[in-house]
Symmetry: C2
Subunit: 170 residues, 2 copies
């Protein structure tokens, strides 16, 4: 898929088919996340990929709006080293965006899910104290109506409102 | 450019040629950023695009490692509404990553620059109190040696170290 098209057309989707995701596709998606940058190239981000239903179900309690995540074929828990400094959530966002845009290019829908209760994800996945569970990203083949053409669902503000030149408000 | 290739091969680069960036290219890059998602689609992110040399020079004091940014043809200050909640830097990262990957696909290098002194950027750009300057991204045609083939400069950990399956460490 063309890069600009993928970046423009990816929308967050959270209804998926049961269709299995091949390990080739999943590897390409995870690899795109791996290649995202980080401050000083410290690479503090690691992923835990969850497909086990019992584990997905246990992870529902890690977010206030995560009751649906056991329905996603794949749950990716994005973790980050706790000592990685103040820019850490920015770098988590870069990794997650690579993951989601790569997924879109490979025919997968995705959605970020906020972790409000990191202690739950930590316990369920055995994440050590020096690492923080930072964000969940769901992945799967989108259900009909959630595939790309219908993804106009989330409109965006016009470019002129999004961008100012040289000074705020211009 | 192919999406997976762009996501995999983009590296942070901060040495640029004086070559002008056409407004068509810049618009496509800014538009890719605009289309990135945000929590609940609140769209709290706005960009200030700076090409004026005096303004770029004044912005150098906004970061502890930003002394070089006046050398970049284009400086993008990514701002975010202050009331947008705890996930805000994650969403800033999503927008910035779209911007940088789109830039790469259009032949531009880029680099995120941390804002350690937001009050400087706020004053220089006239950013209102309810909006936070969150991150700077530089943009420009990469100097020789910084173009894609040389970007192997920042190695990444292997996929097996980056990803665990179902539980930390597996």
């Amino acid at each position: 898929m063309d890069t600009i098209a993928a970046l423009r057309n990816k929308r967050d989707t959270r209804t998926y088919l049961d269709t299995a995701v091949s390990s080739d596709v999943l590897d390409r998606v995870l690899d795109a996340a791996r290649m995202a940058g980080s401050a000083k190239n410290v690479q503090p981000v690691r992923l835990v990929v969850v497909t086990d239903l019992e584990t997905k179900t246990a992870l529902k309690a890690s977010g206030d709006f995560a009751a649906w995540i056991d329905q996603a074929p794949i749950i990716v828990v994005v973790t980050v080293r706790g000592d990685a400094g103040p820019r850490v959530m920015f770098d988590v966002g870069r990794h997650a965006q690579n993951l989601m845009v790569a997924g879109f290019a490979e025919g997968l829908g995705s959605c970020p899910v906020t972790i409000h209760h990191p202690e739950v994800a930590r316990k369920v996945l055995g994440i050590p104290a020096e690492v923080d569970p930072a964000m969940i990203v769901s992945l799967g083949v989108p259900a009909p109506g959630e595939e790309p053409p219908a993804m106009i669902a989330s409109p965006r503000i016009p470019l002129d409102d999004y961008v100012a030149m040289d000074r705020w408000g211009r």
